[in-house]
């Protein structure tokens, strides 16, 4: 059971809410902040920056009608797979070395909101693939302005556990936190894909945390598409033990005047671990794409391999890109590569396609497909098709 914030923490938490709203207002063209402020006002709550929050009891607030109508603590809907879903059970995963989000106001806020943690255990025997689908958030949440959910996934056995998280985002602020543990020799595949039919619904602010631990010989694959939000912040952190591997492939697709910020860290705690982080995204005019990839190879983690790659595609003139590939290597005998580039389509490539009779628009579409080709290699056929339809919508 999550600890509900103490009374004296309420001020701090709502200051964080104020921070969220203030930060979002920098890029918010879709009036999310107005919606949040309206909701606060409708429920006789002070505005985010008001000093009156000093006098608001957090526990009282959580039990008030305002929260039950305004905040949805989402329950995931799970389809398929032999799984155990157990709310209020916390998976004890030692991720202390990497879970340094204690200073992240959004994370604290999310933790304070979430009262029920859903534990999903998947055990796949050798040569078996277990497919699991999580629909999030549930439809009853549609009127809530703030939606929060915390899910812990534990994969064991020597087979493959495949978890597909289908996001149906509506307007408001979403907090979504995952913790995963991959047992020895187990494989877990996680994919985060937005539903395509929500293309017109870009009025949300979205926060995601995925903190993972991969034990000896285990492997974790994370595939994510980030889009349809005014403002996004996503943090992916993985701790790797001996001979463990993680393959993170992320596609932030940032629409006009929207913002997406990604942090992907791998911590190589023991030898022969492999970490691959590929980020390929695009930003339309006025869009902002931030990607920080950090990998640390600890003293005992010799013979480890790291590959970092961040690439951005400017589909129109004014997309902004802020990339930081970062390595911290504390031992010898490791293989590390990192790269970061951004820009529009190569002029020579576009000219070549035009000279072969392909019109400008179609040529650009082909080059966009080509740009995402390498990152999509790790996606399933169904996921690839979904990405293509999202790209078409954008």
């Amino acid at each position: 059971m999550k600890k509900v914030a103490e009374k004296n923490e309420s001020t701090a938490i709502f200051e964080h809410l104020a921070d969220v709203v203030s930060l979002c207002s920098l890029t918010d063209k879709n009036n999310v902040c107005v919606q949040v402020n309206d909701w606060l006002s409708e429920n006789s709550l002070p505005s985010p920056r008001s000093e009156s929050w000093q006098n608001v009891s957090f526990e009282k607030l959580l039990s008030s009608d305002a929260w039950t109508t305004g905040v949805c603590l989402c329950k995931p809907i799970i389809i398929g797979g032999k799984v155990l879903v157990e709310p209020k059970t916390v998976l004890e995963t030692d991720v202390s070395n990497i879970q340094n989000d204690a200073s992240d106001p959004f994370f604290i806020f999310s933790q304070a909101l979430v009262k029920e943690v859903y534990l999903i255990e998947i055990a796949s025997s050798k040569n078996e693939v277990q497919n699991l689908e999580i629909n999030w958030p549930v439809c009853e949440c549609k009127d809530a302005k703030i939606k929060a959910c915390e899910i812990k996934i534990k994969a064991s056995g020597e087979g493959v556990s495949s978890v597909s998280i289908k996001e149906k985002l509506s307007s408001g602020i979403h907090f979504c936190s995952f913790t995963t543990e991959v047992s020895e020799k187990a494989s877990l595949e996680l994919s985060f894909l937005p539903e395509v039919d929500q293309t017109k619904e870009k009025k949300n602010i979205f926060f995601r945390w995925l903190t993972s631990k991969v034990n000896e010989g285990g492997s974790l694959s994370v595939r994510g598409v980030s889009t349809f939000s005014s403002w996004r912040r996503e943090v992916f952190r993985t701790r790797l033990n001996e001979s463990a591997s993680v393959d993170v492939r992320l596609l932030p697709l940032v629409d006009s005047d929207c913002s997406s910020s990604l942090v992907a860290d791998t911590f190589h705690a023991d030898k022969k671990s492999t970490g691959t982080v590929m980020v390929r995204g695009m930003a339309a005019s006025g869009g902002k794409m931030i990607a920080h990839v950090f990998s640390e190879i600890d003293r005992n983690a010799s013979e480890s391999t790291i590959k970092q790659e961040i690439r951005g595609l400017a589909t129109e003139g004014n997309g902004r890109f802020f990339f930081k590939p970062h390595l911290r290597i504390l031992t010898d005998n490791v293989v590390c590569t990192h790269a970061a580039t951004f820009g529009p389509h190569a002029k020579e490539a576009l000219e070549f396609l035009l000279k072969r009779g392909i019109p400008q628009k179609e040529a650009e579409e082909l080059l966009t497909k080509a740009f995402f080709g390498p990152i999509l290699e790790g996606f399933t056929l169904e996921e690839k098709e979904k990405v293509q339809s999202i790209l078409k919508e954008l």
């Binding site: 020579e348 035009l354 072969r356 009779g357 392909i358 080509a370």
Partner: protein, 228 residues
């Protein structure tokens, strides 16, 4: 087929082509040679369109249509093919996807129904064998990991696939081995007919001689000289 009158090309203040005039008639095979930097590739580039050079001409028509008012893709769809001297690499875009798209654009411009994918694939399989490349190449990125000679073989494939009315083969022989060069010469001989013209640009005088061209031109200091 192609008529060019007083073509001048400049890069900034530097003149590259100076008053170039010529005509290519239907069914003609012409060989153009010249030293490095004489302007041969600039001429090819101007014909295909695009680029950032300053181009002026009293006349530049292809099949009686003003070439200067046509975009690069429109020129290609009208039947003008200019091979790339330095083929571009496009990682992630497979030959098959690109060639299918290019063929379907041709169908569209002719007002015809799209081709069946199986029909296109059969064509591609035949041609890839003809240019002596492994069929798996079709599913690799454009020129990704290709050697210089392999890139030129894939240029050959495109040329054969599109069957253009006017082919401008800019040093298509460069980088090919002797067998492939001989094969290219044979294919050029076969491709030339009363409706199709070919302009071959080459540095290899002996190979160019073997083509039995109708005319031989040389480019020198941006000026075109026609040999008797």
């Amino acid at each position: 087929m192609l008529k060019v009158n007083n073509l001048c090309v400049q890069a900034g203040d530097h003149p590259i082509l100076q008053g170039v005039s010529f005509e290519i008639l239907p069914g003609e095979l012409i060989v153009l040679t010249g030293e490095n930097g004489s302007g041969k590739s600039t001429l090819c580039s101007v014909l295909s369109g695009g680029g950032e050079l300053s181009v002026t001409a009293d006349e530049m028509t292809f099949q009686n249509k003003d070439l200067q008012n046509m975009l690069s893709n429109e020129r290609a769809l009208q039947g003008l093919f200019v091979s790339s001297q330095e083929p571009v690499v496009i990682a992630g875009l497979s030959w098959r996807v690109f060639l299918q798209a290019a063929l379907q654009e041709r169908q569209k411009s002719l007002g015809e129904e799209p081709l069946e994918v199986s029909e296109i694939n059969t064509k591609l399989e035949k041609l890839i064998e003809l240019v002596r490349m492994p069929s798996e190449t079709l599913d690799r990125g454009i020129n990704e990991g290709h050697s210089g000679g392999e890139k030129k073989r894939m240029e050959m494939l495109q040329w054969l696939l599109f069957a253009p009315k006017l082919s401008v083969l800019d040093e298509l022989d460069a980088g090919l081995d002797q067998t492939a060069k001989k094969q290219l010469a044979e294919l050029i001989g076969k491709a030339k007919n009363s409706e199709r013209s070919i302009l071959v640009v080459s540095h290899d005088a002996a190979w160019a001689d073997s083509l039995q061209a109708d005319q031989k031109w040389t480019m020198q200091g941006g000026k075109l000289k026609k040999q008797a």
